[in-house]
Symmetry: C2
Subunit: 337 residues, 2 copies
Amino acid sequence: MPATLRDVADRAGVSVRTVSNVVSGYTHVSEQMRERVMRVIEELDYRANPVARTLRTGRTGALALVVPEIDVPYFSELARDVIDAAAVQGYRVMIDQTGNDHQRERELLLGEDRTMLFDGMLFSPLVTSAELLEMKHSRSGVPLVLLGEHEFDGRFDHVAIDNVAAAREAVAHLVGRGRRRIAAIGAQPEEEYATPRQRTAGYEAALTDAGLPLDPEWMLPAPHYSRADGYRAAMELCERPTRPDAIFCFSDLLAVGAIRAIFDAGLSVPGDIAVIGIDDIEEGRYGRPSLSTVSLDTPFIAREAIGRLLARIDDPTEAARSIVAPHRLVVRESTAD
Amino acid sequence: MPATLRDVADRAGVSVRTVSNVVSGYTHVSEQMRERVMRVIEELDYRANPVARTLRTGRTGALALVVPEIDVPYFSELARDVIDAAAVQGYRVMIDQTGNDHQRERELLLGEDRTMLFDGMLFSPLVTSAELLEMKHSRSGVPLVLLGEHEFDGRFDHVAIDNVAAAREAVAHLVGRGRRRIAAIGAQPEEEYATPRQRTAGYEAALTDAGLPLDPEWMLPAPHYSRADGYRAAMELCERPTRPDAIFCFSDLLAVGAIRAIFDAGLSVPGDIAVIGIDDIEEGRYGRPSLSTVSLDTPFIAREAIGRLLARIDDPTEAARSIVAPHRLVVRESTAD
DNA sequence: TTGTATGCGTTATCAT
DNA sequence: ATGATAACGCATACAA
């Protein structure tokens, strides 16, 4: 049975108020009193009960991070940085997975009694809708920061890269390498999601910049941004009468699958088909060939997101702000000559 | 301001007791009363405050999962399964990272006020010591289930594969492929940690089974089981006057790094050197060559671990049990002929 | 079947 | 500077 504030107070012959003052580092407390109380705290191995503290203060010291699937490398690398950044500020992180499932996402966002279990929420959706977020926000009032969605400007805090520019640079790089038949993998069937739409826009802009034609036939969907999706789409491209000479994948994971498919089709990377992704996951650095990509600064994203969230927890009336994280083209073997 | 039990009671003209009964699905409550209360609950959009409930009941509905680093694929894949298995039972999961850092691990385990923030703990250490666990357990009394440590039998619940057998089968497979100079990567400098020691034992047993000599020179350490560790160690092996013709890596991540190193050294896999790992992470299935490995059933591990933990939460006096998870050799290109 | 009252362990208000 | 005491929101022992 853990010792309580009362136990300590009784044993030290003082009031709970005094003990509480010592514990929470209150200024007006005499040195001798302080020492006496501290000794008893040591003796009884007292630790404050965070649940009781939370009930009183309304602060839990926990944040929620919602991602589609934690085992997708980009999200696990992001989670690592988020957990670290949160720890620096004294917060712990709860992770929820939406499983790329709309129904599940709904439940999670609007879910029953989640409220008050955490002080704020970091939401990194692959797909999500503004309405859902509006509902969440208005119903629970939980401070919310979006990761990777640059669409809902003004309404929510968010931190993300400039997706259009990132995609454009990736494709421009392929053009610069002399590629002309450039396919894209990762467009979403529905046009309602920000990230794929923006990357599609960047892809199209780069082709237009280069005076290349836009061909919808060369934009393949990838519902889950998984290795399997990338494999499937690339294999389909390889089997066509006229093959692409480069593929821009909307994520590194898609690219990993695509490279394997190209190899299985008896072709080479980058010889026959150059491949570039987005994310810069570590897996891409060790593959054969190593993967060219657009690197996102996840520690930066995590730090800024945590910063915004804590600011908003502190002052819920603050205006929503939009933070653009830096990105950087990283050229490796998969697009080398 | 969220509605409380009292608000609902007042509005419905009943006592808090009655509302509480309705909310928690108490059996003895008249149907009309039930409906009346439910209607008010809807109206006020009432949700029970989980913190208050926790203070009262002592149950938080949260579990902690402690891993070295969440962005290590094996752990993120395990985390996915743990979160899912916990969700099925109505629990949420908090993730903590020890960062492979002993000091940090200490803090985390013995840490201040963590207690009572979760009902139980799943601990999946790369490295840890029995003493630390003893301290944790005795001090906080938090129900604890170990993942992947088969050493502390009898003292703690744990679920893990038979590491000795898994390693032995992997190495036997290499022998069966005609390999004779079989190196190992992943031994820990200190001999105090269970997993590496057991895998070392399996490696040695398989060599002995095959009548092959044991050479300490061919057992390379890998402090973090990272791709970089695997790369470094394999590169060193490649530069020796007599190279191995096979490498047994204690984890798939090490194997990924090793394969890249062998390639960079101008050699081929499996032509010059065959490579096998342990874990069966998805990354290994898409690499070139695809990675032979020993597959662990992480969904099984997660389910069993959650099951044990909940049983122990329910009845802390239960005897500790040891669950052996199945493993299976998976042969792919990296050890093919 | 339902109402009343107490306590979970803190923090914070009001005295002194 | 410190003591007494009232919440925080819920669950439950005890009554009715």
